[in-house]
Amino acid sequence: MADTCQTSSKPRPKYLGLAEILFQIKLPLPGKLSILHRVSGVLLFLMLGPLLYCFQLSVTSPADFLAFKSFAANPLVRLLLAGLIWAYLHHLCAGIRFLLLDIHVGIDLVSARQTTVIVFIVSLALTAFLCWRILL
C-alpha cells in the first residue's frame, strides 16, 4: 500500500477547469449517460414555468387552446418541445437504469455498458416515436 503511494508521481488532487472537462476528458459511455441525466434534469427544471403556463393556456378556454396551438406551430417552438421530449425520456430511461443499479442489478462492467447502450437506443427511439405522433 505504501509502495503504490510512493510510486504515483502525479500531483494529487488534480483540479480541472471547464475547458479540460469539456474537451480533454474522454468520458466512457456510462459517464456520458450520467452527465446527460443531469443536463436533461436541469433543462426540465428551467422549463417548468413555461410548461405550466402552456398547460394552463391549453385547458383554460377554447381561444387560449387555439392560441397555444398556433404558438406550438412555430418551428423553433417545435424544436424546443422535441428537445424537452428527449430530455424527459432520457431522464426517465437513465433513471430506471440508476434504480436498477441501486438494487444491484447490472453492476458488473459488461452489463453496465450494455444497459447504457439500451438506454440510449430506447430513449432515442421513444423520442422519435412521440415527436412523430405529437409534433408532426
Partner: protein, 115 residues
C-alpha cells in the same frame, strides 16, 4: 467489514429515498398518461380538457406534480451543493428554489381545480 457509527440528522438518506420513491410514482404516472393519451388522441379543446377534469385525474396529476417538485428540489439542491461554494449565495439559491417550487405547486393546484 466496516463498523461505522452513524450519527447526524439522517436527512441525506431520507432525501435519497424520497428522490427514488418520487421517481417511481412519476414513472408509473408517465406510463399511464402516455397510454391514455395515445389511445384517446384528444384533438379538440373539449376532449383535451376532459382528460384532466375527472376527480381521479386531478388527484393523480396533482400527486405527479408534487412528486416532480420534491424530486426537482433534491436534484437542484444537489446541483447547488456541487457547484456553488460561497455559503451565502448557495443558501440564497436554496431558498429561491424552494419558493419557486412551492409557488408552482400552488399554481398547478389552481389550474387543476378550476377545471
Amino acid at each position: 467489514m466496516i463498523n461505522r457509527i452513524v450519527v447526524g440528522a439522517h436527512y441525506g438518506l431520507k432525501d435519497w429515498i424520497a428522490q427514488r420513491a418520487t421517481a417511481v410514482v412519476m414513472a408509473l404516472y408517465s406510463l399511464y398518461i402516455a397510454f391514455f393519451l395515445l389511445l384517446l388522441r384528444p384533438n379538440s379543446f373539449e376532449a383535451w380538457r376532459e382528460v384532466f377534469s375527472s376527480g381521479f385525474e386531478k388527484f393523480a396529476t396533482f400527486l405527479f406534480v408534487l412528486c416532480l417538485f420534491y424530486h426537482a428540489w433534491i436534484g437542484v439542491r444537489d446541483l447547488w451543493m456541487d457547484y456553488i461554494k460561497p455559503v451565502g449565495l448557495r443558501l440564497t439559491l436554496h431558498v429561491l428554489t424552494i419558493l419557486v417550487l412551492v409557488g408552482y405547486a400552488g399554481w398547478i393546484a389552481g389550474i387543476l381545480w378550476r377545471l
